[in-house]
């Protein structure tokens, strides 16, 4: 399971980074979204992966670390709000500057 998990996180990060380096705002926004998914998954795994563990400390051996879950929740909320903000910002930039290049250039420099 660890291998699959690591690969998923890695592929998401790589796709997110690639898209973020593109020249138009839409791929950049999608890239940021993918990157925040990857980060959430990564945070989730930082206390170690357990399956079927109770969420709170129990007498039995082994329980899921509750802290990463709290952190992921925070990160999801912040990430969600920021995605909404960045979409609106990109749309305003598109309407004010007249094109959707991140540098506001007229010519297509993809």
């Amino acid at each position: 399971m660890e291998l699959l998990y690591a690969m998923t996180t890695g592929v998401l990060t790589a796709c997110g980074l690639y898209l973020m380096l593109r020249g138009r705002t839409f791929p950049v926004v999608v890239g940021l979204t993918l990157l925040s998914y990857a980060v959430n998954l990564f945070l989730f795994s930082m206390g170690g992966l357990t399956t079927d563990g109770p969420a709170i400390v129990s007498e039995e051996n082994g329980y899921a670390d509750p802290l990463p879950q709290a952190l992921v929740l925070t990160a999801i909320v912040i990430g969600f709000a920021m995605t909404a903000f960045v979409v609106i910002l990109a749309m305003r930039a598109r309407s004010e500057v007249g094109n959707d290049h991140v540098d506001g250039k007229k010519e297509d420099r993809e």
Binding site: M20, S36, G47, L67, A75, V86, A93, E96, V97, D103
Partner: protein, 503 residues
């Protein structure tokens, strides 16, 4: 009451911000009153906190009475008290300046301003790595909206870069925090310092990776060389009071570097001690060089001041890179000076631009100014303070920095720091003579500037003579701060009194 004082710098702007949300537009007088009163109260609170911290005792506030390392704590030591006071002083100048009319160019200026203060104060107080992330986000969210205040093409373009870069930075911050939590099992910085000291060797690599990723994030906020390209455009296009408040934002990054690496990766960290050192030292010198070139190349007064912020970032980082208490003390003195003076210069640039009509702040021939003489005086004081010419605080701060360099460090720091000061001096005198002396013939036209703007600028620029007059007490305070930072054990023992028993 007194023990709750530590949480006030966070709660006060929060409550003020909520009160200011009452209506999006209108109620101008009510909003200005609430905002100014809240900021002045904040100043008094921070003065009280500074006196409390000056005794040398480290105090903390455990939210909900959950003790460290499990609960969230706000820690007050000399360094955080000093940073809080500088923020409050800067904020008063900026908010009074904004009350002259800048706040009505968009909606919700004062509410966002207060929340930005909330984020900055929180970042200075928190003793917890994840909380540092949260407060960074709070201050960034407010800054995104403030940067866009008033709208316009240049601001939107600068915002796109600023927002995207900082979002990427936030993701990196989370990854770094995740790695450090995975390797050490804690998020409290004091607890992490203990755990890093007893780290099994096979986890060294993980912690190094996490720590250096944190350096990238803090470097992005502080605008170190390969990560500073967002700064000049964003600062030059931000509304003046916002740009003035942003003068403290790069210092939040500097503060975070200073805090995290002196506390967690101090002497007790064994093989991981000072792992950031080569990066910080060499990049600070490179930043200084690049900023010097930028200062010379700027063709706009606001852009020039933005590059002066970069010069100060390079100088401050060099102080961290030297890693001696003496250098830290010098850098803290310089930090107070540079934050207030560059903030004041951003405000002054706006006033000069308003009086020059169409020419604005561009360094070209423009129409003569109505209040040219008074503005020129202020510009002169600000310019020689920031360039580091006696008798003002810049000269004192830079002399302390130069004096703190030892041996081989002098070879690098002295020429670069002096050359960047020379570049600032040349660029500022060129700017001043163009702005004030090379104007078109003809009558002066335009209206006098509002008194609130004068107050904001004079309030901030008066730091230049005051810091010299009070150099004795200020530098003894910064010296004590540096000594406190050099002994993180005291902080660790205050927060975790039974740390010894647990192991």
């Amino acid at each position: 009451m007194m023990q709750h004082l530590i949480v006030f710098p966070v709660v006060l702007p929060l409550v003020a911000g909520i009160l200011l949300l009452y209506q999006r537009q209108g109620l101008v007088r009510y909003k200005r009153a609430v905002s100014v009163v809240a900021t002045v109260l904040l100043l008094f609170v921070t003065i009280a906190l500074l006196r409390q911290a000056d005794s040398g005792e480290i105090t903390y506030y455990a939210l909900g009475d959950w003790q460290a390392p499990f609960g969230i704590v706000l820690v007050l030591d000399r360094l955080s008290a000093l940073m809080l006071l500088v923020t409050a002083v800067l904020a008063i100048g900026a908010v009074v300046f904004a009350c002259a009319g800048d706040d009505e160019k968009g909606s919700n200026f004062h509410g966002l301003f207060q929340w930005q203060l909330l984020g900055i104060n929180g970042a200075f107080l928190t003793g917890d790595l994840f909380n540092l992330f949260v407060f960074f986000e709070v201050l960034l969210l407010a800054s995104y909206a403030l940067l866009l205040h008033g709208g316009g093409k240049a601001r939107i373009q600068a915002s796109v870069h600023y927002v995207v870069l900082n979002l990427a930075g936030s993701s990196l911050f989370l990854i770094a925090v995740g790695i450090l939590y995975g390797a050490t099992g804690t998020l409290n910085m004091a607890d992490m310092a203990i755990r890093v000291a007893e780290l099994p060797e096979e986890r060294d690599g993980l912690v190094t990776a996490g720590a250096l990723m944190l350096l990238v994030v803090f470097g992005l906020k502080a605008a170190i060389l390969p990560l500073y390209f967002w700064l000049p455009k964003a600062y030059a296009s931000a509304p003046a009071p916002v740009a003035a408040l942003f003068a403290i934002m790069t210092k939040v990054g500097i503060y975070a570097i200073l805090r995290v690496y002196s506390l967690i990766f101090g002497e007790s960290a064994g093989g991981l001690e000072a792992l950031e050192h080569p990066w910080v030292w060499w990049l600070s010198l490179a930043t200084l060089a690049a900023a010097g070139v930028g200062v010379m190349a700027a063709r706009d007064l606001r852009l020039l001041v933005a590059y002066l912020v970069l010069v100060s970032v390079g100088t401050l980082l060099a102080g961290i890179g030297m890693r001696t208490p003496q250098a830290v003390s010098a850098l803290l003195y310089y930090l107070i000076h540079t934050t207030l003076i560059t903030g004041g210069l951003f405000l002054l640039a706006e006033m000069i631009g308003l009086q020059r009509g169409k020419a604005g702040t561009r360094l070209v021939k423009g129409r003569p100014m109505v209040q040219g003489a008074a503005l020129a005086m202020l510009f002169f004081i600000g310019a020689i303070a920031v360039a580091g010419v006696p008798p003002f605080s810049g000269a004192f701060g830079k002399a302390l920095m130069l004096n703190a360099a030892e041996g081989n460090q002098r070879l690098w720091l002295w020429p670069l720091l002096l050359l960047s000061s020379l570049a600032s001096l040349v660029a500022l005198s060129r700017a001043g003579s163009t702005l004030f002396w090379r104007s078109h013939r003809g009558n002066t036209s335009g209206t006098a500037l509002p008194r609130r703007q004068w107050f904001g600028v004079v309030w901030l620029l008066s730091a230049a003579p005051l810091l010299v007059a009070l150099a004795g007490p200020v530098s003894s305070y910064t010296q004590a701060t540096a000594d406190q930072l050099a002994n993180p054990q005291v902080l660790i023992r205050t927060l975790l009194p039974d740390a010894g028993d647990a192991q």
